[in-house]
Symmetry: C2
Subunit: 444 residues, 2 copies
């Protein structure tokens, strides 16, 4: 068997190590290709079952040749590049696994993939991925016991591990910074107690809820863009409450709301002459003109922040009031903000990250009502074997192995929501200590 891994960037180390270890046991071959040959080489090292190569994924001829040689492709490319790769896989009868969301062009391949007898498994990462699998395992188990699901809420956060949680925001970037800056734009929708609920973007970070996860403590969560679509994939049509949220540490949302209120997260409009501006100027461009008031005073007055406000301290800590040049020749407020955040929120080489996930389910069983909480916490081991790399890489790697060994037999375009897909993956993830702890209490 030959596995082709396309993309050797961030978060692929654990995936490639896992596949190489499997290859050593099973006499398989793993080929790792990337636009940068050196990166691919560094991931493979001198492993006997691995080879490294370079690939420009836009070179259709070379891409198709490599795919044609393989039995299965794991793509770690950015999401928008998956369409042509998945298509080549169908043409060559090669299985395909990736951690990113199903897009329209990929879901159109379902029929063709079934006819070719291959599996296209998408959303085989952590979020999406482990969230789907753990939720479905819990929901299917309850339904099998005869329970009626009343409410389903689920929360995930990519954060910094407690020991390294050392800045006032209690947050560092462990995943795509741009997605963090733009989170929730366009507003959100979900369902609570039988009612559809909407929150416009500018109110989102005022509507967080407080949560606790044993061992790791307090969190707050703001709602994700669209929780309603999960009614279908989780077979929860008609459910009274469905809500998906993002976890942050306490204090984050109130401070982030200040950035939203000022206008610093806006990505729709370029700022005039941003090349000549400092962050202090940029903040001031959202405030009225008053030569007798400092930028700091205007911010306090505009956002009604008290003298000893923790939110104001967080803004100050970011350096937003300092005469630091924005350093972009053109850009939106959101792009400028992202630059400043990257300077302050980057994981340091010694830092470790953390992925936390929490499901809250309310159900009725035998005339009684229960609330079950199920949570997972995974810590990074170092700056390469991060929690993100582990949870994404092991999920995709295990899925790839199971497809090749017959442990997953479903064909066509799949996401890991059916039991024959999620059960064997979750079982093996537990061996790597990626597991959920459950707590049930009777309510009412």
């Amino acid at each position: 068997m030959r596995i082709l891994v396309i993309g050797a960037g961030k978060s692929t180390a654990v995936l490639i190590d896992y596949l190489l270890a499997q290859a050593a046991q099973r006499r398989w071959q793993v080929q790792v290709v990337d636009r940068e040959l050196e990166l691919a080489r560094s991931r493979v090292g001198d492993h006997a079952c691995g080879t490294a190569g370079s690939l420009d994924v836009d070179d259709a001829g070379e891409r198709d040749r490599l795919i044609d040689d393989a039995n299965l492709v794991v793509s770690m490319l950015p999401a928008h590049m998956h369409g042509p790769v998945a298509e080549s896989c169908v043409d060559s009868g090669v299985h395909f696994v990736s951690a990113s969301y199903v897009s329209g062009d990929v879901s159109d391949l379902d029929q063709a993939a079934r006819q070719a007898g291959i599996t296209i498994l998408k959303e085989a990462g952590v979020d999406p991925g482990i969230d789907h699998m753990s939720a479905m395992e819990k929901l299917d188990g309850l339904r099998e016991r005869g329970a009626k699901i009343r409410a389903f809420e689920t929360f995930t956060g990519g954060l910094v591990a407690p020991e390294f949680d050392d800045n006032p925001w209690r947050y560092k970037f462990t995943w795509n910074p741009r997605n963090v800056v733009l989170a929730g734009q366009g507003g959100v929708k979900f369902k609570h107690h039988g009612r559809f609920k909407y929150i416009p973007y500018h109110r989102l970070f005022k509507r967080y809820e407080r949560l606790q996860i044993p061992e790791v403590g307090e969190f707050e969560a703001y709602p994700n863009r669209d929780s309603l679509k999960y009614r279908h994939s989780y077979n929860l049509r008609g459910i009274d409450t469905i809500y998906r949220g993002t976890l942050r540490r306490p204090g984050f949302c109130d401070a982030w709301d200040c950035l939203v209120q000022l206008g610093l997260t806006d990505d729709s409009e370029s700022v005039e002459r941003i090349g000549e501006m400092t962050y202090r100027d940029l903040v001031n461009s959202f405030l009225w003109y008053d030569p007798a008031m400092s930028v700091e005073l205007k911010v306090r007055a505009y956002l009604k922040l008290d003298l000893n406000s923790a939110e104001f301290d967080k803004l100050e800590w970011l350096g937003l009031f300092e005469p630091i040049p924005v350093g972009l020749s053109r850009g939106t407020p959101a792009q400028a903000l992202q630059r400043r955040l990257e300077a302050k929120w980057s994981l340091q080489p010694e830092d470790r990250d953390m992925i936390a996930m929490l499901h809250k389910i309310e159900y009725e069983l035998d005339g009684r009502a229960y609330r079950e909480e199920s949570s997972m916490v995974t810590l990074g081991s170092d700056s390469v074997r991060t929690a993100m790399a582990k949870t994404v890489g092991l999920t995709a790697g295990i899925a790839a192995k199971l497809i090749l060994t017959g442990g997953i037999e479903a064909r066509g375009v799949q996401i890991p929501t059916s039991r024959d897909v999620y059960a064997p993956i979750l079982a093996e993830l537990r061996e790597f200590d990626i597991r959920f702890d459950d707590r049930v209490e009777e309510i009412e």
Copy 2:
């Protein structure tokens, strides 16, 4: 001479009367066409110089035939329909006048129009139109006297006349309701004291300023979408302050901000099952679930409104807390809100409207600094000869006459910002009592 008026809807009565009167003096003919023949007929009556016809403007053959017969076309169609009409005018060597904004497809016709020896005059209404002309007359006059312009601010409002200003919002629709509901979405930009300023949409209605116009009293103004582009058309490049705003009566902006904060002005997302909802349900869909709190209590708490809040009273007066069905089978919050506002803010047959315009200019002259305010107020005479119909219709009508009689000689695509265009139009508008009053004071 033959003038073709396309479109006989709202706000065309004064235009058509003016053109018919000119035609009677000059032995011209005016043809008025509309999709609805009856509407065109009612505008023309039995005037000896007028004929009425029906035209489906998408019928290119008939449209071109009518245009080809004319010497000048006045189009009162919606803005997006002007492209093909203006093109036919160029092909047939026929002048073209309209009150709406220049669009890309029309400005591309400039060269061809010059070659054909015709004038395409756009933005010949009130806003845009009278605002351009009165501003340029003032600015050109000051510059001619050697003044250096430091600041230019301009404000326009279409409102209800003081005598009929009888609802708590002190506002009724006198123009396109959808534009009122969506005003400012995407945020605004302007320049104040040498600094570019931005306000995100969700802060816009908190950043109004207070103004006064002699005789008609107090107003508040919120900034328009993009004030910066007028630096070019008004020859104000390098000016320290440029700001365009919309006038409302005091109290409007704080109450409108409540609708924005709730999310009711959102036009991006359809509401699930809106067909089954009342306005009370719709408001509740933006609030958290709490069976112990009424919708009214939640709104007060969410928006931090006092017990005797004037804003709350305005929301209540709109009927937003009542079990009135929304009555749309699908739609966005903004579309639902518009329906409710149309039910409450419609001009009644006995109501009269008002257009108010105010320019504030600061300049230096002979070593001294001055502030000049220049304002115009026009009242409607009845529900047909509204202030809107007068200001738009007379401007477009006078412009049409001047083009045909040689009073305006500029050719190509024009907006009324050059003296040879605006001076004769403003002079004749004064005869109709559409005039500005000026007040100058020395400052500093």
